[in-house]
């Protein structure tokens, strides 16, 4: 059933390619319908799913190599699929104004969405990798064609970083496959294979970093700020809200599940990197003039929390990792439109981002910190400082953009881009109806999860008891 989220997205792409070239309206409607259907399927599928592992489809794909087409979902996948559904719908609403080559825009957009669904639902390493790479290429085009400031540079940087990351993952996957006897690519079977310790020591960091590059792990985060600045609104939202989660998901689902001993051994170094990311991202965000750079760096900081949560190697920490931050999605909204509604939205989003109680951000960060306290108290303190700085930059941005003087300061980006004489007309268009709806959807989701976190925790927690994580448990992690 949930497999249809993938097929529907690709079906949408097929329908889009058949549409007449200049009918932007039809393209929008088709895209929105596709995303809505996908989200509905995800929602229904989640409600129907059991607590354990739900397999929808498992057929032999390439028998000679033991590759299966295996789609399944546990609680972690389900949450992320739901999030993807919400973000997909919101992203299309935010892109409602795109007139230039709208058909192609939505085709690339839905390809990306389909790939992301696929990653979250794959339980075969090969299949997972196929979907993972499939999600890289559309990002390049989305940014390079419809982006703004230094778009070609930003897009290429993002594509190359992602591809280098996936190359590392590929090495790890092939090595793991061969070491385990070259008979199966199934994540479940491989997770039960006892990989030799010395192998795990080098395979774990390879795969972990390979995925974590996409999650903005410091010092491989530099694609994130440039990517965010260059990306069009919807793509930026997906970047922060979904694609960076892909990286974290991969780190967890593949690297940590397959190589628990390696994870144990590398716990400290990677936790340190994550904390550096938190503090560094927040501090750099504090000094940025360009709004989108603030978002870019803050996403690095936020993902630091997710990665720190992973490296705590205990249950409380893990539950956060899927405990998603829709607010980042929200932040991606084009805030250069200094208008009342945007102000209201951004206040909510940044309140959530600062971690005020009552929003999902608060619960998530609290969970991570509690989890981290058990493993490494010193670092937790540093991460706490990161939160404080986060509050500082968010307030600063809020103050400047929405409550400050209507001077050049209001929209620093505009003056900058003017200075760079880019042909980027930044008229203060009013926020359109669809954009409002999109923002409301996201805010609602943020609030709901913040006020009632059990909704997600109940989904995620049981899946950590599945045999898939036997290795991690045995390593004394869970």
């Amino acid at each position: 059933m949930l497999g249809w989220t993938i097929y529907i997205s690709f079906l949408g792409v097929a329908v889009l390619t058949l549409l007449p070239r200049h009918n932007a309206r039809a393209a929008r409607v088709v895209a929105l319908l596709t995303a809505l259907t996908g989200f509905t399927v995800a929602l229904v599928g989640t409600l129907k799913a059991d607590a354990g592992l739900n397999t929808f489809c498992d057929v032999s794909w390439v028998p000679a190599l033991g590759i299966h087409y295996h789609l399944a979902a546990d609680g972690i996948s389900l949450t992320l699929v739901l999030l993807t559904g919400i973000a997909a719908v919101a992203g299309i609403l935010f892109s409602w104004n795109i007139e230039q080559r709208a058909k192609e825009f939505f085709a690339f957009y839905l390809t990306l969405i389909g790939g992301v669904y696929g990653v979250f639902l794959s339980f075969d390493l090969f299949l997972l990798f196929v979907f993972y790479e499939l999600a890289i290429i559309p990002k390049y085009f989305l940014i390079a064609i419809w982006g703004s400031t230094r778009k070609e540079y930003g897009a290429m940087k993002l594509a190359l970083y992602s591809f280098v990351g996936s190359a590392m993952v590929l090495i790890g996957i092939i090595a793991a496959y061969v070491v385990a006897g070259a008979k199966t690519m199934s994540l479940i079977e491989l997770a039960q294979y006892p990989f030799p310790e010395h192998f795990q020591y080098w395979a774990f960091p390879l795969v972990f970093v390979g995925f974590a590059i996409l999650a903005g792990l410091w010092p491989f985060h530099t694609w994130a700020p440039t990517g965010h600045v260059a990306a069009p609104t919807a793509a930026s939202m997906l970047l922060a809200g979904v694609v960076m989660k892909l990286g974290a998901y991969g780190s967890f689902r593949v690297a940590m599940t397959l190589f628990p001993l390696g994870a144990k051994a590398w716990q400290m170094p990677f936790a340190t990197l994550a904390v550096i990311g938190i503090v560094y991202g927040a501090m750099v965000a504090l000094t940025q003039k360009d709004f989108k750079f603030v978002i870019g760096y803050s996403s690095v900081s936020h993902m630091g929390f997710v990665l720190l949560g992973l490296m705590t190697l205990n249950e409380i920490g893990f539950t956060d990792r899927a405990h998603t931050r829709e607010l980042e999605v929200l932040e991606g909204m084009d805030l250069t439109k200094a208008l009342p509604f945007a102000a209201g939205t951004f206040v909510v989003a940044s309140a959530a981002s600062m971690g005020l109680p009552g929003f999902s951000g608060f619960v998530a960060e609290l969970q991570v910190l509690i989890g981290a306290w058990r493993s490494f108290p010193t670092m937790t303190v540093c991460a706490g400082i990161g939160i404080l700085i986060g509050v500082a930059y968010t307030l600063r941005v809020l103050q400047k953009a929405f409550f400050g003087e209507v001077a050049a300061e209001v929209n620093p980006r505009q003056t900058e881009s003017a200075a760079l004489s880019r042909a980027q007309p930044h008229g203060l268009e009013p926020i359109s109806g669809p954009e409002r709806i999109g923002a409301v959807i996201l805010m609602a989701a943020t609030l709901v999860i913040g006020l009632y976190p059990r909704l997600l925790l109940d989904l995620i927690a049981p899946s950590l008891n599945s045999p898939l994580f036997e290795g991690l448990r045995r390593a004394g992690a869970l």
Binding site: T17, R21, W61, V62, P63, A64, L65, E104, F126, F129, V130, F131, E133, L134, I136, I137, Y140, F141, A144, I145, E152, M156, A159, L160, F163, V164, A167, L170, I171, I174, A175, Y177, V178, V179, A182
Partner: protein
């Protein structure tokens, strides 16, 4: 040779005979009947005959399942499921090469062009079937000579002549090396058949004469597959040759050459492998090929970054892909053979499609510089989409054939020495290099999808049949990537049966 009549041989060599006859038919029709007709019509008819003969030959192999006993005719003509399968692949590639030639106006000598195309194909087919040094050399020469002429076929273009001369001079030199190597091998073993040669070499170790034989042979074949440092002809030949000729050099010729290289190495030099594992090197042909592969991947990928002409870019990328394919050869096992064939066939198909798109653009713009591709997605959406499939497949992005090909090769290479992951270093290098390659393939796509076309560039419209051919190739690349088992299953079965 006792008991084998001419009729039996003719029956075994029926596919080759069909193709050779078709070459004569094309010549006859074009020179005898079609002379006064319009150029486009002539090309259509010639391509039709060419394509039909390929299809008939494929159909024949499909229907008449023949097999020769081991040692039959001293290995001059080996017919087994594996060679049949590879030959079918070669024929499909020739078919599409003829298909993408129908819009090309570089020559008036239509009949000669298609006849040479078919003769080159005959050369490839015999090459695939050969397990005998003499036959290998003869068919290699038939193939090469046809390709030299095809390269020079654009008589109005100075570059074409230059390219052909370069190709010819390098090729002649390489042929001499090959012949020298093969004669040394004969001198060492007293046989010209691959399997008896291996039997005679068994247990002898690597004496200097054998080492020389290996090196010479590898030089000869290295030229055919454009491996570094024998690649110098490739960029000029690809750029100067008429695009359909370049497509044949890059596709069918590569498939046949790689297959025979794998055969000579794995069958002929069995026992002189050496070891290419990290920190466990032992001299033999495996480490030799490993070094060549590393340099091919390195130079091919790095030099491709600097190109601004799509044909030259494809030439350097072909060098790099030669490096990846060499990994499959040096696995020295059955899975490697399957991976090699899958890889080179899908690569050839992809690059053929890419050349098809290039030829359309070149026909209108006169050249194939990056700027000629600017904004192509607005001028020719369908062709641009096909080009995107080809470029991404070459870069190894799933779910396209190029990705599964690379995955298959890399897995086979690591699996070859599974105990200590001996060849992992090569695979790591290859994967790193393929990450580099994404950059320049994206450069092409950037021109097509992102860049704005200059105002005076016209709408590009390929003729319907040509467009259909290119779309068909793109669909094939997509299908082979999504359902690799279409080929892998048959391939594995054939290889087991062939007792490679």
């Amino acid at each position: 040779m006792s008991g084998v009549g001419y009729f039996d041989i003719l029956k075994l060599a029926m596919p080759e005979t069909i193709v050779a006859l078709a070459a004569l038919v094309v010549l006859f029709i074009d020179l005898g009947i079609m002379r006064p007709a319009e150029g486009k019509f002539r090309r259509m008819i010639a391509a039709l005959v060419t394509g039909t003969s390929c299809l008939v030959a494929i159909f024949w192999m499909h229907q008449v399942q023949q097999e020769t006993a081991p040692g039959f005719l001293s290995g001059l003509l080996v017919v087994d499921p594996l060679t049949q399968l590879v030959k079918q692949g070669v024929l499909v590639l020739t078919l599409f090469t003829a298909w993408i030639s129908i819009d090309s106006t570089f020559t008036d000598h239509t009949g000669e062009y298609f006849a040479l195309l078919l003769l080159a194909t005959v050369g490839m087919m015999f090459l695939v079937s050969a397990e005998n040094l003499l036959m290998i050399f003869i068919s290699l020469e038939l193939l090469s000579l046809s390709l030299y002429i095809l390269t020079a076929f654009n008589k109005r273009n100075l570059r074409s002549a230059e390219a052909a001369l370069k190709y010819f001079l390098f090729g002649g030199m390489a042929a001499a090396f090959t012949l020298f190597g093969l004669s040394l091998l004969y001198g060492l073993t007293g046989s010209i058949e691959l399997r008896p040669i291996a039997a005679a070499l068994k247990g002898k170790g690597l004496d200097p004469a054998l080492a020389a034989a290996i090196v010479m042979t590898v030089i000869g074949f290295g030229f055919k597959i454009a491996a570094v440092p024998f690649h110098l002809w490739a960029p000029d030949a690809y750029e100067g040759a008429p695009t359909p000729s370049a497509a044949l050099i890059a596709s069918g010729s590569k498939v046949a050459s790689f297959f025979i290289l794998g055969k000579v190495m794995m069958l002929g030099f069995a026992g002189a492998e050496g070891n290419g594992a990290w920190r466990a090197f032992a001299s033999g042909w495996v480490p030799l090929l490993a070094v060549i592969a590393v340099f091919s991947m390195l130079l091919g990928n790095l030099a491709a970054i600097a190109q601004s002409n799509v044909k030259r870019l494809l030439a350097y990328s072909a060098i790099a892909h030669g490096g990846y394919a060499l990994l499959a050869v040096l696995t020295d096992n059955l899975q490697g053979v399957a991976a090699l064939i899958y890889y080179v066939v899908t690569y050839a198909l992809t690059v053929l499609g890419a050349f098809g798109v290039v030829s359309v653009v070149e026909e209108r713009a006169g050249e194939a510089r990056f700027s000629d591709f600017a904004g192509l997605s607005r001028r020719a959406p369908l062709l641009s989409f096909c080009m995107m499939i080809f470029m991404l497949s070459l870069a190894g992005i799933p779910p396209l054939a190029g990705f599964f090909g690379k995955f298959y090769v890399f897995t086979a290479a690591v699996n070859a020495q599974a105990k200590n992951l001996g060849l992992l270093w090569l695979v790591i290098f290859a994967i790193a290099m393929s990450a580099v390659s994404l950059y320049y393939y994206l450069q092409v796509l950037k021109q097509i999808y992102v860049a704005e076309s200059s105002t005076r560039t016209p709408v590009i419209k390929a003729s319907a049949p040509l467009q259909a051919g290119i779309v068909l190739v793109a669909a094939g690349v997509l299908a082979l990537g999504c359902a690799p088992n279409l080929v892998v299953g048959a391939l594995s079965a054939a290889i087991k049966a062939a007792g490679f």
